[in-house]
Each structure stands twice: as C-alpha cells, then as structure tokens.
Amino acid sequence: MREYSAYTLLKNALSGNRDWKPAWRKPDPKPSYDVIVIGGGGHGVSTAYYLAKEHGVTNVAVLEKGYLGSGNVGRNTTAVRSNYLLPENHRFYEHSMDLWENLSYDLNYNVMFSQRGCLNLAHTPGQLDEYIRRGNALRHSGIDSELMSVAQIKKLVPALDTSGSARFPILGGVMQWSAGTARHDAVAWGYARGADRRGVDIIENCEVTGFLRDGDQVTGVTTSRGEIRAKKVAVAVAGSTGRVMKLAGIETMPIESQVLQAFVSESLKPILDTVLTFGMGHFYAAQSDKGGLVYGGALDGYNSYAQRGSLPLVEEVHSEMLALFPSFASLRVLRSWGGLCDMSMDGSPIITTGPLPGMYLNAGWCYGGFKATPASGWCFAWTIAKDEPHALNAPFTLDRFQRGILIDDKGQGATPNLH
C-alpha cells in the first residue's frame, strides 16, 4: 500500500487525520555511518534517496545545519529545463528531465511538476540566430525545441508587449515545451521522506564544524551534535562550499559565492502559463499555482554570504519586467529574498570523487541547481557508491579546470558573475 493515495486520504479523513506518520523521523546521530551527506538541501536529500534506492546503501546520514530545505531548494524560481547548448549538458539535464517526469510517482509525493514550456525571447536578429543554433543543437540531441514567431508568441502570452514600439521589440523566440516548473518544497520533502523510509537518518540542526582525518583520509566529521564517523563523506552545500572546504584544509576552489535575488508578486488570475525569459537583459518569470508571479534576474555581481541583495538589482529586474509587461506596473511585490549561489568558473557544476580521499564533492550549481536536483543526486549517489563518476557526470570533474576541458555553455570564461 502506498502511503499517500486516494484510499489513505479517505481513511485518514474519516479518522480525523490523527494517524498520519511524520514525513521523516528526527533521529539522534549514530556514532558512525557508511556515508555522511553534508547538506540537507535538494541535492543532499536526493543523493541520500538514490544511494538507498539505486545502490542499497541505507546506513546514511544527511546532516543539515538548519532545518530541511531551508536553503535554496526552499526558495528559488522553480524552473526546470534542459535547453543548453553543449552535449555534456544535454545528456545530464535530459537525464534530470526523465527523472522529473516520473518523480511524483517514484516518490509517492506530488511535486507538482508542470510541463508548461520555457520560452526564451529574442530581441535582435543576432540573438535569434544564436537561439536557432541552440535549438538545432538541442534537436540533434533529441531534445524538443521550437522556433516561435511573434504571432505565435502573442497568442501564447497575450499580456506581453509584442508591438514594434516596445522598448526592446520581440523578434521571435525559442520554446522548449517539455520544460516547466515544480513545487520546490515538495521536492525536498518528497526526497527526504523517500530516503527516511529506506533507513536514511535525516539529522537537522546539526552543523558540521570540522573533518576527522587519518592522514589525508577523511574519516568523519565533528558537528554541533558530536563526532560522527563515516567511510565516505559527501559534501553538497552549494553556496557554503568554500566555508566547508576550508574546514577540510582546502583553501581555494574554482567557485565564488554570490547572491541572487528573486521576487514574488501578489496573486493574479492566470496570465502567464509558461516560463518566460527576457533576452535583452536578465529576467525570467513564471506564475505559481497560487497565482503569484515568481521572477528574478541577474546576480548582484559581487561575492556575498549575506543572503540578501541590494537595491540596484531590484530596480533593474522590475524595469525589465515592465519592458515586457507594461500592464504589470500596478502590481505589488509580496516578498523578495537573496540566496547564496556557488558560481563556478565555467558556469557548470562539479560532481566528483575527492578532492581528498574519502571525500566526494557536489558543487558549482551557479543559480541553476533546482532543475538538476534529481540527476545531481542520481549521479552523485553513483559516484559515492562506485567510487567513480557515471558517464553522465564524468565531464563534470574538478580537474577539468587544470586540464582545460571546460564546459562553458555561455562561452563567458572565468568570470563567475557573468555566467
């Protein structure tokens, strides 16, 4: 019997909803585990889930400094897509897309994955050419991509200013219909419950304060709740990667921590039923099921661990929104926030063994980690269980920078604030 179903819903409703089990236990840490995953975000809990489900490794602890899902997985703009240019990214993100499509069933938890499409707007002939190139690259890899005319775009999103007198007139766009959104909290909770039911200990309010070492070998961690030993220690801490790696004596990484802001408006009736991106700056928006517009823009552009941004970016994002949707000028903003992004030097992630023996690293997601949550956990679990990367994450090693085999989808170079 699956834990959540129409039958159990009805049964529990009749008994006053007193018999539901908590979605995950609150265990005390054991003295040792086979695997410790540092970081109870989306990637950490999905790693634990796939370790248990795919590799039978269930003696696992996920250590989370705050409460589960309190970082970027609990607050992001929820877009899920695989419309990259490079084949390494196609393979990895399409694997993620395959997992997304079956995720609610797999987890027995409704992650509200909604394939409403993702439309990139083009505003110059050069940009349209670039999108056509990317669309063709996607189709070569068997991923859907469709060029849209202004008339088609106008029909799809009537609120857009598609007139020739717009500040940046729209010349066309490229659509990935299989892209969409998912409910971010449900992704964290669903993976956490799935991992917990397979025996994984999810330990919240447990901050890692250092690493236990035997020579070079990592043998465990010291935490705010005592020492915990493990054969393997996996790090999946996104924007805190620099801080955690320093605890292990690694002083530099090909990563900068920067702040990205996002915003939610008051609720509207349905007005935007796709994920939309603006081409003449950096702006993207989708409408949540509650009706609020969820939108964001570029990084603030400087190193930050503050989890809050500054006002110039707030102004920029809203001016870009109004360039597309003049009618949104009277809309009120409900809330905004800033999150830590682990910006890598080529804009692509790192899923690898090492850099120390007994350690495994998952980092460098820039501000696109949410869509990767399933494949990131799936590949990281493989890497931890088998001590070597899967073919899907073999290109995403840490030594690609030394070897000069970068995966720079945007062709931007080692300038993290521009990826």
Partner: protein, 92 residues
Amino acid sequence: MIITCPFCGPRDSSEFVYREEGGRTRPDPASTDQAAWNAYVYERVNTAGDHEEIWQHSGGCRSHLRVLRNTVTHKILDVTLARETGKAEKPA
C-alpha cells in the same frame, strides 16, 4: 552599498563594477608553470568575512579600486587605488 571613491567621494555601488577577487598575482607571461596559471585563472579564496577585491568606478572616474569589504555584512572597510597597491607589491 556606498563605496567611497578616493577621487569622487561616497557613491552608490551601482556606479561601480565588481571586477575580481583581489590579492591575486598574475604569473610572469613567459611562465609555463601550469599549476601557477591554473591557480591564477581558476582558483579563488572566496572568503566569508573581510575580502579584498578589485572594483572599477565605471560610472565615474573609471579608476580601478582595491576594496576591502566584508562579504557577510557588506560593510566596506577600506578603499584605495588599485595601482597604489600594485606598486607596493612590486619587488624593488
């Protein structure tokens, strides 16, 4: 954030562009030391706390500035001209 430019005085951060982490030294252009180049191009200290960085006052006097800024509080502790720092670091 308000950054106090040595020439222009206190100005809003939107007039400035963040360039890079400071304190990094480019290897000799003739050097073929791969590890040194890798460290210069790709490795960052990424400090949580007082962080040395290079900004440019691109919307003002266009000088390159060395800024000491706390990355946890965003407080700016010191601003000097980058070229003065560079001179001080050059061997005699």
